[in-house]
Each structure stands twice: as structure tokens, then as C-alpha cells.
């Protein structure tokens, strides 16, 4: 005789055991081979900057005998998912990469990140580089390098059409019109990735509303994300899209696979608003284009409160220590080595990165130039999508993409961001 009941009971027991075994042991810190101490480091650097990281780890291992660092390079996109699961599952790496800002803050709020305020020396870093990892007056990460976003252009092309770097927005518009009349796409833009379009929104908004605009909206003191400056920024984006300043189908083009850069290299487009990583990327993609590559800063708007010297930028990488690390002290030491002057200098020499660490000398004249811009900058607007909490950042990116696609009005977009901001930030 066989009974269905037996079956059902067996199944239930199976699931319960599966469920229990999980909740029982998820609290103990995982397996440990305790013969020698091992630290895990997750980073996303590639090429020369990966070498710089590995050299820093070597120096650390030499100075700390018996400590072994397992360095795991992650790939940008899946890295975020992987770190979330590892944090949720209670086995985070000891030291991990971030960009500071809202993403890191989520982990800080979840109690997963060690407070480094007493461990790192703020004097060692540029102040603008430290702030993305500061939450409620405490520091949760040490920065190594910085990025800024200028307007890159094709020098040869500008010469050919008798164009000069613009001082005002009107001059920029004239450039756009000249390029258009010569069948050249004024701005190359691959906005499937969404963040490249966000640069425009940040610049316009800052140029209209001034350096305090974003912080007021973010801290919920004063103006909000539906401020007139944001609406105006949206209008300017629409204007550009309507006048055909961007390539066909730019909202479906992907920066990573090279679609926007291709237009630039093929001299079908004249300008691109991108981070200073454009330099390294160009050297990799099309070395002979480097000599044509020039940059200028996004011009000021008439009647606006922002100056041409205010720049959009960000910090990457930032290294933090996991609260659940079994060797927090050692991990902190590792973070110090990763963001030491030696590492930063090596990175500057080989990768052309702009350092977040003070007193670095640059061999590369391009990098020196970019670094000068940063030093002369009156204000650095950190990337919205990295500063804001992720869900708000997502709304900002989506609505901006929709502005470019002309499927949302500036008012709608601004209102949507503000509503989400009220929900998330208040």
C-alpha cells in the first residue's frame, strides 16, 4: 500500500530541512582556514591601473608577513550584483571597490561598512575627493583617483571650419549650427547607457542654478529637483535634441561597445561630452586620433548662476572595509596602501589618472592639463547617479533619457524626480 501522505510528508520534511539548515548556520561567519590570514580584495580596475593595484598589494604583503591577499578583479556591471549578494549572504570581501555616493551609502546604512574616520588622514587627499564617501560626518572610504567631464572635440575639424573653443553658450550653439550645416553630427552621444546624457543635465542645471542647487535639492534645504533651473536644463536638452545636435538613434547607442566614439574617430561627429577616461580609451581604440583630441569646459549660460569653472566629476575608485571582515585592522592597512602616494603616483605615471591624493606629479601633459582644470575648479559637481540613492538615481537617469527622446516634458521630468526625492530623501 502506498500513501500520498507519505510523499507529502517527505517533501515537507525536505523543504523544512533545507530551510532550517540555512537559517541555522547563516549567522556563523563562514568557513575559515585559519592557518594564515587571508584578506579578500574586490576591485574593477583594468590595464595599467590593475597593475598599480597589484603592486600596492605586493607592497602590503611584504610589509605584513603571513598575510595573504586574494585579489579578485570584477567586471563593472556584474560587480554591483555580486557585491549585493555577498553582502546579503553575509560573506563580503574584506576590502571592496565603490564610487562613494548613494550606492556606498546603502551599504553604510545597512551597517556593512567600517567607519574609517580615525584611520585615514584627510590631509593626504584632495577635499573634493573625500566627500563622496562621507556620510553624517564620518568617512567610510579612501579615494584613489578622480574623473572630470570636459567637452572633447576634434581639433582638426574645428580648424577646418574656422571654429574656436567657445566661451559662451551662444558660441557653442553657433558651433553646433556650423557643424550641422556641414553634415557633421555636433555631439556624439551613446545614451542607451543613460549616464552620458546625464552629463548634459548636470551641466545645464549647474550653469543655471549655480553650485548650491544640487546640494539644496539633495539635502532637502531650499530649492528642489523641480526648481526652475532643472526645468530650464530640460528645455535646453530638448532644444538640442530638436535641432539635431545628436546622432540618429542615440538613445539606443551603447558607450561600452564604442558606438559614440566611432562617430568621433570617423570624423562624422565633432564633439563629445565624456569623462577624462576618453583619453585612455582613445589611446586604446584609435591612437592616431589622440593628436586631434582637444577639450574645453562647458560654457556658462547667460543670466545663470554657475561659472564655466564649475566642473562635473566623480571619484573612482574608493576603497572601503567591510564591517563583517574578520581582520578589520589589517584590511584598513590594506586600504591605506591602496590609496598611498606611491600607488597614486604609479597610477598617474602609467594610466594617466588624475589622483585623489595630494602632491602627485604628472608626466603626461594632457593629464597635467586636466589636473590643472581640477585644481582651478571652483566647485566640483559629483555625478548625480553616483551621489543620489540608487532608486532616485535611476529615476534621474530614466527621466533624462526621456527628455532626450522628447517623450517627457521638462516639467514632467523635474516633477517626477522631485516626487521620488520626497519619497526617498525625506
Amino acid at each position: 500500500m502506498w500513501k500520498p501522505k507519505v510523499w507529502v510528508t517527505a517533501l515537507i520534511i525536505l523543504f523544512i530541512t533545507a530551510g532550517c539548515s540555512d537559517s541555522e548556520s547563516s549567522t556563523d561567519g563562514g568557513s575559515g582556514d585559519d592557518t594564515s590570514k587571508t584578506l579578500t580584495l574586490w576591485h574593477i580596475e583594468t590595464g595599467e591601473s590593475e597593475v598599480a593595484i597589484e603592486d600596492a598589494v605586493k607592497r602590503f604583503e611584504e610589509n605584513h608577513e603571513g598575510v595573504n591577499v586574494e585579489v579578485v578583479r570584477q567586471e563593472n556591471d556584474p560587480y554591483k550584483t555580486k557585491l549585493s549578494v555577498a553582502m546579503g549572504g553575509g560573506t563580503p570581501p574584506d576590502v571592496f571597490h565603490s564610487w562613494g555616493g548613494g550606492w556606498l551609502e546603502k551599504f553604510v546604512e545597512a551597517g556593512q561598512v567600517k567607519d574609517l574616520s580615525d584611520d585615514i588622514d584627510p590631509e593626504q587627499f584632495l577635499p573634493a575627493a573625500l566627500s563622496p564617501a562621507e556620510f553624517e560626518g564620518k568617512n567610510y572610504g579612501a579615494p584613489l583617483a578622480m574623473d572630470i567631464v570636459p567637452v572633447w572635440y576634434n581639433k582638426g575639424m574645428f580648424e577646418k571650419f574656422g571654429l574656436e573653443e567657445p566661451e559662451t553658450y551662444e558660441e557653442l550653439i553657433e558651433i553646433i549650427e556650423t557643424l550641422k550645416s556641414n553634415d557633421i553630427v555636433p555631439f556624439s552621444l551613446a545614451n542607451q547607457s543613460k549616464w552620458p546624457g546625464s552629463f548634459y543635465y548636470m551641466y545645464f542645471a549647474e550653469r543655471f542654478g549655480g553650485p548650491d542647487l544640487f546640494n539644496e535639492a539633495y539635502k532637502r534645504e531650499g530649492r528642489g529637483f523641480d526648481d526652475e533651473a532643472y526645468v530650464k536644463a530640460g528645455e535646453k536638452i530638448r532644444e538640442l535634441a530638436e535641432m539635431g545636435a545628436f546622432p540618429d538613434g542615440f538613445n539606443g547607442m551603447n558607450f561600452d561597445t564604442g558606438q559614440s566614439r566611432q562617430l568621433l574617430y570617423a570624423e562624422q561627429a565633432g564633439m563629445i561630452i565624456q569623462g577624462n577616461w576618453m583619453l585612455g580609451t582613445t589611446r586604446n581604440d584609435m591612437p592616431e586620433f589622440e593628436e586631434k583630441l582637444g577639450f574645453f569646459l562647458f560654457p556658462a549660460m547667460e543670466g545663470g548662476q554657475g561659472s564655466k569653472k564649475d566642473i562635473v566629476g566623480g571619484v573612482s575608485p574608493v576603497y572601503s572595509v567591510a564591517e563583517k571582515s574578520e581582520n578589520k585592522e589589517l584590511a584598513t592597512e590594506l586600504v591605506k596602501e591602496l590609496t598611498s602616494k606611491a600607488t597614486a603616483q604609479q597610477l598617474a605615471n602609467t594610466d594617466g589618472a588624475i589622483s585623489a591624493v595630494k602632491d602627485i606629479e604628472y608626466d603626461d601633459e594632457y593629464v597635467q592639463e586636466i589636473s590643472n582644470v581640477l585644481e582651478e575648479a571652483e566647485y566640483m559637481q559629483t555625478f548625480y547617479d553616483q551621489t543620489l540613492p540608487p532608486e532616485l538615481a535611476e529615476v534621474h537617469l530614466d527621466t533624462t533619457q526621456a527628455l532626450f527622446g522628447l517623450s517627457k516634458t521638462p516639467e514632467e521630468a523635474a516633477k517626477e524626480v522631485e516626487e521620488k526625492a520626497k519619497e526617498v530623501l525625506e
Binding site: 500500500m1 502506498w2 517533501l11 525536505l14 523543504f15 533545507a18 530551510g19 554591483k80 550584483t81 549585493s84 553582502m87 546579503g88 546603502k106 551599504f107 546604512e109 545597512a110 551597517g111 556593512q112 553630427v185 545614451n191 542607451q192 547607457s193 543613460k194 546622432p247 540618429d248 538613434g249 542615440f250 538613445n251 539606443g252 547607442m253 551603447n254 561597445t257 558606438q259 566611432q262 562617430l263 562624422q268 540608487p390 532608486e391 535611476e394 530614466d398 533619457q401 526621456a402 527622446g405 517623450s407 517627457k408
Partner: protein, 328 residues
């Protein structure tokens, strides 16, 4: 010959159970034999189904249960702090227009998959049985799309649809259809169709091998008998092949529908749900909520809703299929 096919078809029925296998030899012993057989059957069932059920229960059923459990909480997924929220996540979901857009896109994908993947797969499978030379070569190439990794497909099709360098626009230009040219993935109206076409392209070969294997299983004698009756190839297809393929078509439909309802990969690579959420699917939206927005609870409620929707649709098909068999 038609009789023959029908007879065969009837035998496909579900009622081919073992009850009729041993007619009880004598009424006295019925009870005992039945008992013995039932006991034996029980162990056969356990022995055959048990191992699969064990590993399946451990990973899949457990995960489904946990997904439902998480969906009842407000939880970021990255800490231990979970707040019980009851059905709040589901209530939020009902008012979430992005979810409805994505559900609509999913149903578009379902319809497109059924209407293109299956017929295309069947045509390719039939072609493989037609007397053309170089069959092995065709057979290998036809399968290529399914064999390529999604990342490669994604990158290639991003370029194929590109507004400036793309092949699609070049072809349209050659045909004198310049007005049709556009950046296919950047346009809210066309992006979803461009992606759907790619998905169908990728999966049609899978249905080809399913159909091919099923056609192989059709006894040669049926065709031979038909040929003797002088039936045309069209008639052979309609009277023999197609009726005998119906169970495979139903299986394929189920696979195709479920696959389309939880589809993720190519959308993620090609458009990431954009522009302006126009290509968002339930799975990409769930992923965004779970891992970008740190909303594990809400993401789980999307997952579980997807699960319920797929279950509902599948049950409808099964009931339908049951009725069809009854009618037969």
C-alpha cells in the same frame, strides 16, 4: 491511411496507463495482485522520481518558497533588517505603471514568440527532411543562432540596428527606403520590435531541433502507406505530420510562453529596458528593483507575480489540451 494515422493518434492518448496491462486471471486473487502491484508501483515511482525530486526540491522549490517569503517584507537584501509588510509590496505593484508596461511587453514577446519562433522552427525542421543536397551543412548553420552566446548576439545586433553604421539601415538605403531608416534601438516605438526580432531569431533553432526530433519519431510506414494511396506531399503533411506533431507543438508553446514571460538576457545587454522603459520586461524590472535599487522585497514580489502569471497561463494551456484530447 487516414485510418491508420488516426488509430495511431488515438493511441497517443493519456489513458495508456498500466491498469489494463494485466487482466486479472481469477476474481479471487484480484485483491492480492492489485495490492502487490500497487506496492511495486509505489517503489517504482519513488525510485524513478525521487532523485530528481530531491535535487529539484532543494534548489527550485525552496527558492520559490523563499521568493514568496521575501516578497512579504520590506527588505534591501543587503542587511539582516527585514520589516514584515504583508501584501504591501503587491499593492504597490498593482499601482506601478512600469510593471504594467513591462507586462504588456512580455505579452507582446509571448505573441511574437508563438507566431514566429514556432513556425520558423517548423519550416527549418521540414526543410531538413526535404531532398536538398548538403543537408549536414544547412543543419549546422541553421542552429548557429542558438549556439551563440547572448553577449555576442547582443553586441552584434546593437551594431546591426545602429542608426549610423547599421546593416538594417544600409539595406533600407539600397532598397530606396531612406525614409524608413532610423536608430532602431533608440526609438521608443521601434526598440521593442527590434529586440523581439532578435529574441525570435535566437530561439527559432531550438524549436527546429524539437520538431526535427519529433518528426523523426513518426513511423515511416504511415508515409509509405500514404504514398501508395497517391497522396501529395501537402496532403501527407496535413494528414500525417501535422496531427502527429500536435503534442510537440503544445509542448513547444508551453516552453515558448514561459520562456517569453521570464525573458531577461538580450534585453539586459541590448537596451537595459530603455529608452524610457519602452523595452522593460518584468524580469529586467525585477532585476533593477532588486540589485540597482536595493529593493529585494519588492523585486521578489515582482518575481512571484511573474511566477503566478506563468503558472496561470500554463494551466490554461493544459486544461485546453485536456479538452482537446477529450474531444478526440
Amino acid at each position: 491511411m487516414e485510418n491508420n494515422a488516426k488509430k495511431w493518434n488515438v493511441e497517443q492518448g493519456d489513458d495508456r496507463g498500466s491498469s489494463k496491462v494485466y487482466p486479472p486471471p481469477a476474481p479471487v486473487r484480484v485483491d492480492q495482485t492489485k495490492k502487490k502491484r500497487k506496492k511495486q508501483d509505489f517503489w517504482v515511482i519513488v525510485g524513478f522520481l525521487g532523485p530528481a525530486l530531491l535535487i529539484y526540491g532543494l534548489y527550485v522549490i525552496y527558492s520559490i518558497a523563499m521568493t514568496f517569503y521575501y516578497s512579504l517584507f520590506e527588505w534591501s537584501g543587503i542587511d539582516t533588517h527585514m520589516v514584515f509588510a504583508g501584501l504591501q509590496n503587491y499593492i504597490t505593484l498593482i499601482g506601478d505603471h512600469v510593471f504594467w508596461t513591462s507586462l504588456q511587453n512580455n505579452f507582446l514577446l509571448v505573441a511574437a514568440s508563438l507566431l514566429t519562433q514556432l513556425p520558423l522552427g517548423l519550416i527549418m525542421a521540414l526543410l531538413l527532411f526535404s531532398p536538398i543536397k548538403g543537408m549536414r551543412f544547412f543543419r549546422s548553420i541553421y542552429f548557429m543562432p542558438f549556439l551563440m552566446s547572448t553577449v555576442a548576439i547582443g553586441i552584434l545586433f546593437i551594431y546591426i540596428y545602429d542608426g549610423n553604421f547599421g546593416i538594417v539601415n544600409q539595406i533600407l538605403g539600397q532598397l530606396g527606403l531612406e525614409s524608413w531608416q532610423r536608430g532602431w534601438l533608440g526609438n521608443e516605438e521601434t526598440a521593442i520590435w527590434a529586440v523581439i526580432a532578435t529574441v525570435c531569431w535566437q530561439f527559432a533553432p531550438f524549436y527546429m531541433i524539437l520538431f526535427r526530433a519529433a518528426i523523426v519519431g513518426i513511423p515511416e510506414e504511415l508515409y509509405e502507406a500514404a504514398e501508395m494511396d497517391g497522396a501529395s506531399s501537402r496532403k501527407k503533411f496535413l494528414k500525417i505530420t501535422l496531427p502527429l506533431l500536435i503534442p510537440t507543438i503544445i509542448t513547444s508553446s508551453i516552453l515558448s510562453i514561459i520562456g517569453a514571460l521570464k525573458y531577461f538576457d538580450l534585453i539586459y545587454v541590448m537596451t537595459d529596458g530603455g529608452p524610457n522603459n519602452s523595452t522593460e520586461l518584468m524580469a529586467t524590472y525585477m532585476y533593477e528593483q532588486t540589485f540597482t535599487n536595493f529593493n529585494m522585497g519588492y523585486g521578489s514580489s515582482i518575481s512571484f507575480s511573474m511566477f503566478i502569471i506563468a503558472l496561470f497561463v500554463t494551466l490554461i494551456i493544459i486544461v485546453f489540451d485536456q479538452k482537446r484530447k477529450g474531444a478526440n
